[in-house]
C-alpha cells in the first residue's frame, strides 16, 4: 500500500517536474549517485579499455574535440570543439592544426598547454615511453607521423595519410588529454585532468568520488556538486538499490533488456534506454590447428550458427545481427538487411544453412555417429560462458561435439597468445563506431588485439584505402565488402552485437546517450539534478 502511494507520489512529482523543467533553467547542486558494476582496473583511461574506467573518470578530463553532447549518433559530423577551439586541415589533409583554449588549468593549478597534447599522443601512439603499464589503443594512432607544438596554444598533428576518421577517434571518451607533468602511476590512482570534476577518492571495490571543479573553464558548469559511484557487483542488487531511490542511475549498458523491462514495470517513471554497447560476441577459430586448417570445416561451423537464437536467448531478440561493423539503424557502417542476406551463414533460413553445413561435414567423413570432438574455450565469466554454451548447442547440428573449457581470466590471453585452443568464444567492445578503429584494432597483422593473428595483406591494403576515403557512401560500400570478406574468411565470425540498458530517475536532467556507442557521453558537465 505504502509502496503504491510512494510510487504515485514519485510519479506525480515527476510529472510536475516534467512541466517545470521546460520553464526552469538548469539547477545547480546535488551529488549524482551511480551504481558501478565492478572495480575499475585503474583510474587511467588511456591504460584501460573498459567502461568501468571510462565512464567514471571521463568527467575528470577533456578532449581536444568531442561529440556534441546532444548528438544522437557519434559520427564525424557531430564532432565539436572542446579544449581545441577550432581545427584546420591542410590542403593535402596530412596536417591537422588545433587552436587551443586559453586559460585552462589542470586540477593541480598548472596551466594546460599544447605540450600536454603532444605529450599525450606521443605516449599513446607509442613514440615515447610514458611509463604506462599498458597501451591498449596504440593501433588507433597508426597514422600519426609527428606532433608539433607550434606555440603554447597551437598544436599540429602530422599524419602519414589523409584520415577523415582521425577526428572521430579524438572525439571518443577514450581520448582525453593527459597532463604532461603527472606521472603515469599517479594517473592510475589519482588522475589529474582539466575536466568539470576533480578526483576525490577511489576505494577499491567500494566507491569512486568526484567533486565539482570550481575553476572549470566552461562558465557556470558543471551543475553537479559531485558524482559518486558505488560498486555493487551483483546486478540485481544494483537494480534494487537503484529502484529504492538510493541511486540516481546505473552504470551505462549494464542492464539486460529483461532487467530493464522489470525495472520499468516496477518504477514506470524510470527513464531507460536500451542501446548497442558496441560490444560483439565473436568466434576465435584456430586456423593453424587441425581440423580448422581446413576452410570447409570453418565454413560448416559458421553455417551452424543461428544468430537469431543467440539474440533471442541472450536478449529477448534485442541484439543486433551483423558483421564486424555495428548494424544499422544504430550503426553507421554496418550492412543493410538486404546486403546481409547475401553473406554466407547470414541467410534467414538457418535450417537450410545447417543442412549445407551437415553436407560439408559428411563429405569430410563426419556424421551423427562420428562427431568431431573439440573444446570450446572461453573466459570463465558469465557473458562469455553463456555465449559459449549456446555455441556448443548450435554446432551439434553440424556433427561437432563441443566441450566447454572455461578459462580463468589470467590464463585466457596467455592461451590465445600460445594459440592453444581450437575454438574460442570471445566478447569484445569497441570505443568508437568507426571502421578505422574496428579494422586496425582487430584485423591488422601486427595488432596486439588480433587474437587469431588473422593476416590478409590484400585486405590490409583495403583497410588503408577506406581509411583515406572522403566520400562517405563510397567508403561505406568498401567497408561492407571488407566486412563480408572478413566473415567469409572466418577471421573472427561475429555471432551477436550486444545491447545494454541504462536507467536513471527522471530527476537526472541533461543526460544524452548516443545510439552507437556507450563510451563517449560521460563528461556530465551538462547534467543537473532536479530535486
Amino acid at each position: 500500500m505504502s509502496r503504491m502511494l510512494r510510487r504515485l507520489a514519485v510519479a506525480s512529482v515527476c510529472t510536475l517536474m516534467l512541466f517545470a523543467g521546460i520553464a526552469h533553467a538548469q539547477k545547480q547542486g546535488g551529488v549524482l549517485r551511480i551504481t558501478h558494476r565492478d572495480n575499475p582496473p585503474s583510474a587511467s583511461i588511456h591504460e584501460e579499455a573498459t567502461i568501468s574506467t571510462d565512464m567514471p573518470f571521463m568527467g575528470v578530463f577533456n578532449n581536444l574535440v568531442v561529440f556534441a553532447p546532444d548528438a544522437k549518433q557519434n559520427r564525424l559530423e557531430a564532432v565539436v570543439p572542446e579544449l581545441a577551439t577550432s581545427w584546420k586541415y591542410s590542403d593535402d589533409e596530412r596536417t591537422l592544426t588545433f587552436q587551443l583554449r586559453d586559460g585552462v588549468k589542470w586540477h593541480d593549478g598548472k596551466p594546460f598547454t599544447a605540450a600536454d597534447v603532444k605529450c599525450t599522443w606521443d605516449v599513446v601512439s607509442g613514440k615515447v615511453d610514458g611509463k604506462m603499464r599498458k597501451n591498449p589503443r596504440k593501433t588507433w594512432w597508426f597514422n600519426i607521423k609527428d606532433i608539433a607544438v607550434d606555440n603554447p596554444l597551437q598544436v599540429t598533428f602530422h599524419l602519414n595519410d589523409p584520415q577523415p576518421s582521425f577526428l572521430v577517434m579524438l572525439a571518443g571518451g577514450f581520448s582525453p588529454v593527459y597532463p604532461c607533468h603527472v606521472p603515469a602511476a599517479q594517473m592510475r590512482t589519482h588522475p589529474i585532468g582539466t575536466g568539470p570534476f576533480k578526483f576525490v577518492s577511489f576505494q577499491q571495490n567500494e566507491s569512486i568520488k568526484l567533486e565539482r571543479n570550481t575553476e572549470y573553464w566552461k562558465p557556470g558548469r558543471p551543475y553537479l556538486d559531485g558524482i559518486e559511484y558505488t560498486i555493487i557487483a551483483n546486478r540485481s542488487t544494483a537494480v534494487l538499490a537503484l529502484e529504492s531511490g538510493k541511486f540516481d542511475m546505473n552504470i551505462t549498458g549494464e542492464l539486460t533488456p529483461e532487467l530493464v523491462k522489470d525495472v520499468q514495470s516496477h518504477v514506470p517513471t524510470m527513464q531507460c534506454v536500451v542501446q548497442p554497447s558496441n560490444t560483439q560476441g565473436n568466434l576465435l577459430i584456430n586456423r593453424d590447428r587441425p581440423p580448422f586448417d581446413d576452410a570447409k570445416i570453418r565454413r560448416a561451423l559458421g553455417l551452424s550458427i543461428d544468430r537469431k537464437a543467440f539474440s533471442d536467448i541472450l536478449s529477448r531478440g534485442v541484439y543486433n545481427i551483423g558483421g564486424a561493423m555495428l548494424a544499422p539503424p544504430e550503426g553507421i557502417w554496418g550492412w543493410t538487411k538486404e546486403f546481409m542476406e547475401t553473406v554466407p551463414g547470414y541467410g534467414a533460413d538457418v535450417e537450410k544453412s545447417r543442412e549445407e553445413g551437415r553436407r560439408i561435414m559428411k563429405e569430410l567423413g563426419y556424421g551423427p555417429d562420428k562427431m568431431l570432438q573439440l573444446k570450446v574455450s572461453t573466459r570463465n565469466i558469465p557473458d562469455y560462458r553463456d555465449a559459449a554454451v549456446l555455441l556448443i548447442d548450435h554446432i551439434k547440428n553440424v556433427y561437432i561435439q563441443g566441450e566447454l573449457e572455461p578459462l580463468d581470466s589470467s590464463v585466457w590471453y596467455a592461451r590465445l597468445l600460445k594459440k592453444d585452443y581450437a575454438v574460442g568464444m570471445n566478447v569484445q567492445g569497441t570505443g568508437v563506431d568507426d571502421p578505422d578503429v574496428m579494422f586496425f584494432e582487430n584485423y591488422t597483422c601486427n595488432s596486439e588485439r588480433n587474437y587469431t593473428a588473422y593476416c590478409n595483406k590484400d585486405l590490409e591494403v583495403l583497410f588503408r584505402k577506406q581509411s583515406q576515403m572522403k566520400d562517405f557512401e563510397a567508403r561505406k560500400q568498401l567497408v561492407w565488402q571488407i566486412d563480408r570478406t572478413l566473415q567469409e574468411d572466418g577471421a573472427r565470425p561475429v555471432v551477436f552485437q550486444s545491447q545494454g540498458g541504462t536507467c536513471w530517475w527522471p530527476a537526472v536532467k541533461g543526460l544524452h546517450l548516443a545510439v552507437n556507442s556507450i563510451y563517449n557521453h560521460w563528461r556530465f558537465d551538462d547534467v543537473w539534478l532536479e530535486r
Partner: protein, 291 residues
C-alpha cells in the same frame, strides 16, 4: 549406580540389525533416504532427468515452473529440474571425493602420528596448526585459485583442509587406544607394534572415522557450493548447484526466483540429509558422543 538395563540387542543377522537401528533412529532413516535418492539420481541422472540439461531453447527462456519445466527453465531455456539432477553428480563427486581423500590421508597421517610420535608427530602438529590458523573457505579459496577451477582441483582444494581435522581426531584416538588394556595385553603377548596397530587399533578408529567422514560430507557440499558461488568452484559444463545459484543470484532474484530457490533447496536438502544420517551414525557407532 548398578546397571539395571538389559544386555544388548539380540541380533539375527544384518537385516535385523539394520531394522533395529532404523527403528531406533527414525531421523537417521529420513537422512538415509534423502542420501539414497540423491546418490541414485546422481548415478542415474541421464535416465532420471526428463530433459537434456545442456540443450538450450530460445522459446523456453526463463519459463516459469510447471508443465514441461517442473522447476522452470533458465535463461538459456535449459530445464532447471534436469540440471539439478545432473548437478547432483557434481555435488556427489565432490562430497565423496573430497571426504574420501581427506579422511583417508587424514587417517593415515593421524595413525602415523599416534604411532611414530616424536619429531614426526611434532612436525605434523605444527603443520596442522598452520592449517587451522586459516578458515576452511579461505584455505580452499586460495588452493582453487592456485590450481585453477576444475572438478578435480575443487575436490583437492576441499580435501586438503579436511586432512588436519581428521588426523587430529584419529591421532588422539590412537593415543588413547594405545593405553587400552587389551592393546597393552596384545603387546604383552609379544605382538609387534605394527601388528597391534593393524589388528587392534585400526579397526577401533574406524567407527570415529566413519562418524567424522559422514559429518564432513555435508560440509564439503557446502564448501563446494560456496566456492562455486564465488566463481571458483566446479566450472561449466557441469551444472554445479552452487554456480547455478550464484549466477541466478546476480540476475533473477526478482524476475525468476525459481532459479535461486531450487538450487538452494537442493543443497540444503542434501546437506540436511547427510547431517541427519551423520547424527544417527554417530549415535549408533560412537556411544561416547551419544546425546
Amino acid at each position: 549406580m548398578s546397571t539395571t538395563t538389559a544386555t544388548g540387542p539380540v541380533t539375527h543377522g544384518l537385516m535385523s540389525t539394520v531394522w533395529y537401528n532404523a527403528r531406533r533412529y527414525p531421523l537417521g532413516v529420513a537422512g538415509a533416504i534423502i542420501m539414497i535418492v540423491f546418490v541414485l539420481s546422481a548415478i542415474f541422472a541421464t535416465w532420471v532427468a526428463p530433459l537434456d540439461p545442456f540443450s538450450t531453447n530460445a522459446k523456453a527462456s526463463l519459463a516459469a515452473p510447471g508443465g514441461t519445466y517442473l522447476m522452470g527453465a533458465d535463461m538459456m531455456g535449459r530445464d532447471v529440474f534436469s540440471r539439478l539432477i545432473h548437478g547432483a553428480r557434481v555435488s556427489l563427486a565432490v562430497a565423496i571425493g573430497a571426504t574420501m581423500i581427506g579422511s583417508g590421508v587424514g587417517a593415515a597421517v593421524g595413525l602415523a602420528c599416534g604411532y611414530i610420535g616424536g619429531w614426526f608427530d611434532l612436525l605434523v602438529q605444527r603443520v596442522t596448526e598452520v592449517f587451522q590458523a586459516l578458515p576452511l573457505l579461505v584455505m580452499a579459496l586460495v588452493i582453487t585459485a592456485s590450481l585453477g577451477p576444475s572438478l578435480r582441483n575443487t575436490i583437492i582444494a576441499i580435501a586438503i583442509p579436511l586432512i588436519p581435522i581428521v588426523s587430529r581426531v584419529i591421532r588422539s584416538n590412537v593415543l588413547s587406544l594405545r593405553e587400552m588394556p587389551y592393546v597393552e595385553a596384545a603387546k604383552a603377548t609379544g605382538m609387534s607394534e605394527w601388528r597391534v596397530a593393524i589388528i587392534h587399533v585400526l579397526p577401533n578408529t574406524l567407527a570415529p572415522l566413519i562418524v567424522l567422514a559422514t559429518a564432513q560430507l555435508g560440509s564439503t557440499i557446502l564448501t563446494e557450493a560456496s566456492l562455486s558461488f564465488l566463481g571458483l568452484g566446479v566450472p561449466e559444463p557441469y551444472p554445479s548447484w552452487g554456480r547455478m545459484l550464484s549466477e541466478s543470484a546476480a540476475e533473477y532474484v526478482r524476475t525468476a526466483p525459481w532459479l535461486v530457490i531450487y538450487p538452494g533447496l537442493a543443497i540444503s536438502l542434501v546437506v540436511f540429509g547427510s547431517n541427519l544420517l551423520g547424527d544417527a551414525l554417530r549415535d549408533a557407532l560412537d556411544p561416547r558422543q551419544r546425546d
